[in-house]
């Protein structure tokens, strides 16, 4: 569960004028280049706008290398010099989730979006947009902190709080291990949330005279009330499956049946189809529902 990495900073200064950065439009004909349409936004809350770049085609490109080429040239097809498109990336092997964006309208990681396949599906052009369910920081960089706030809310960890050697923990069945392994592949990228029609964007603007602390508190409260999302529900399943984690299962189930809990799921089931790790998210939701019902009945009748 890596946090988003540092942003790719403006790398334009000094790189202009290099031979590779001066491709004329005549050279760049359709066969050995393609267009990249990017939905840009200069900062939080500002209006977004489309911009088109031409990128020379090279073997085995992915969308990260495309963005690197765009940063290198930083010039639109109209020949206007612009600030390079900002994006995030980290692992470059689809395990960190930092480069998640909408590529040809579909949410996925840029690092494993291969240009050859994208152009085979849609010749000549690739469209890049930031995720729509998170506030845009700049261009393709979004603030995904709500993903991690949801994990904190459901206590997605095994509490081990002791100075003493407690000995070996309880054993876990092979069956549970195999299911837990599926859930443990989550990289908190947010694809399931982006595709979920029940997960709505929260974007607050800090008011004039509002302190940073007050603004944070308001944002935390908005996140607390809003839908957890499929990823956090699956993590509840993961940690409630764990023999030691299950000792605090009721705390997680309290969150799951509280405001913004599992009840908001509308069974559209897009989450499981867009999950890059193939996590059985709908199974997690159905199992979480079963646990939630049992939990509420137990609470009602003090069982």
């Amino acid at each position: 569960m890596d946090r988003p990495s540092e942003r790719i900073e403006d790398t334009r200064s000094g790189s202009r004028g290099s031979p590779s950065g001066s491709m004329t439009s005549a050279e760049a004909n359709a066969a050995d280049s393609f267009l990249v349409r990017v939905l840009r936004q200069d900062g939080p809350g500002l209006t977004s706008y489309w911009e088109t770049h031409r990128v020379a085609r090279e073997p085995d490109m992915n969308c990260i290398s495309v963005l690197q080429k765009i940063a290198e040239r930083a010039e639109t097809i109209e020949g206007r010099r612009v600030a390079p498109v900002a994006w995030e990336c980290n692992c470059l092997e689809e395990v960190c989730g930092a480069c998640t964006m909408l590529i040809n309208g579909r949410v996925r990681q840029a690092c494993t979006a291969l240009v050859d396949r994208l152009l085979a599906d849609r010749p000549g052009e690739i469209e890049l947009r930031p995720m729509t369910k998170f506030p845009v920081i700049r261009d393709l960089v979004v603030d995904r902190s709500r993903v991690f706030a949801a994990l904190r809310k459901v206590k997605a960890w095994v509490p081990v709080d002791s100075y003493l050697d407690m000995g070996a923990g309880p054993r876990q069945s092979q069956e549970d291990q195999e299911l837990a392994y599926q859930y443990s592949k989550c990289m908190s990228c947010g694809c399931c949330l982006e595709a979920c029609p029940q997960f709505l964007k929260i974007e607050l603007v800090r008011g004039k005279g509002e302190s940073e602390t007050d603004f944070r508190r308001r944002l935390d409260e908005a996140n607390r009330q809003a839908f957890l999302g499929a990823h956090a529900i699956a993590q509840v399943e993961l940690f409630n499956l764990n023999p030691i984690g299950s000792m605090t299962a009721r705390q997680r189930l309290d969150v799951l049946t509280g405001e913004g809990g599992v009840q908001i799921c509308g069974k559209a089931q897009n989450c499981v189809k867009v999950c890059p790790k193939g996590i059985p998210l709908t199974t997690a939701i159905a199992r979480a529902n079963r646990a939630a019902v049992r939990h509420v009945v137990r609470k009602w009748f003090d069982l």
Partner: protein
């Protein structure tokens, strides 16, 4: 402040409210839909059978009918419908971007819910009049074209109301289809809501029974609608070739008369 307090009340009890919404959809609303469509289907056997069924129901007596229809039909549907509209308003449908079969089902569940709720509110006013209170029926419902159904003249009044215009027939067909889809797909989603079918294989297996329930109900519902429209057409023949729609005499005066509270008839 009032609005935010209401929101927080709804938020704190969100789980209970949505589970109640789900439960009411099955019982009594889903159960009543099955019962209602099956009762309607008596018209397929002819006007006498339909009148007989209406008489059987109205033997319960006015007070029992009012208590049952409000507690088991109107209030549950109002709760289910209003909470349903809130659920629809809190979703952002995206089926054009993610055109998966399950996402279509999700979208249609919301569309059919809104259509069915609008249809039911109109349908109950049109035939029933909403309230069995004579002042309301005489001064509000009838002047506005509602309360067309009369249990003593069940086949004649129902077929006249439903067959009075092409758009009424079409609205009935759409309303029945939307209600049946909403129930059949709702049965399936309910299994996930309550954790009855959790594995992917179990969820796939349950598609078939839920679809079968929907298809049977749709055939029964639309069959009854067709028979009702046909019954109305036959009774309008100038020579009365098919006989009067209302052929069975009222079984007893005390059952046939007043079905409206405070009526002087």
């Amino acid at each position: 402040m009032e609005a935010s307090r209401l929101t927080s009340l709804f938020g704190r009890h969100d789980f209970a409210i949505r589970r109640l919404h789900s439960l009411l959809g099955l019982m009594p609303i889903g159960g009543y839909l099955v019962f209602h469509l099956a009762t309607n289907a008596a018209i397929i056997d002819g006007p006498e059978a339909y009148q007989h069924r209406a008489d059987q129901l109205h033997k319960l007596g006015l007070t029992t009918i009012v208590v049952l229809e409000w507690s088991l039909i109107f209030l549950p549907i109002l709760f289910h419908g209003i909470v349903g509209l809130m659920i629809v308003s809190r979703g952002k449908r995206n089926v054009l971007n993610y055109p998966y079969a399950d996402n279509w089902r999700y979208t249609l569940q919301r569309l059919s819910g809104v259509v069915a709720f609008a249809f039911i509110v109109w349908h109950v006013f049109d035939l029933h009049g909403w309230l069995r209170w004579s002042w309301w029926v005489e001064n509000v419902a009838r002047p506005l074209g509602g309360a067309r159904f009369m249990a003593e003249e069940a086949p004649a009044t129902a077929s006249a109301a439903i067959g009075r215009a092409w758009w009424v027939i079409a609205f009935y067909a759409v309303g029945v289809t939307a209600s049946v889809y909403h129930l059949a797909n709702g049965l399936w989603t309910m299994g996930m809501t309550w954790g009855l079918w959790t594995s992917q294989a179990a969820r796939r297996r349950m598609n078939l029974p839920c679809a079968a329930v929907g298809i049977v109900l749709l055939v029964v519902g639309l069959g009854a609608l067709g028979a009702m429209v046909r019954a109305g057409r036959l009774s309008n023949l100038p020579d009365g070739a098919a006989g009067p729609v209302r052929s069975a005499p009222a079984p007893a005066a005390d059952h046939a008369s007043p079905r409206v509270l405070g009526s002087a008839r």
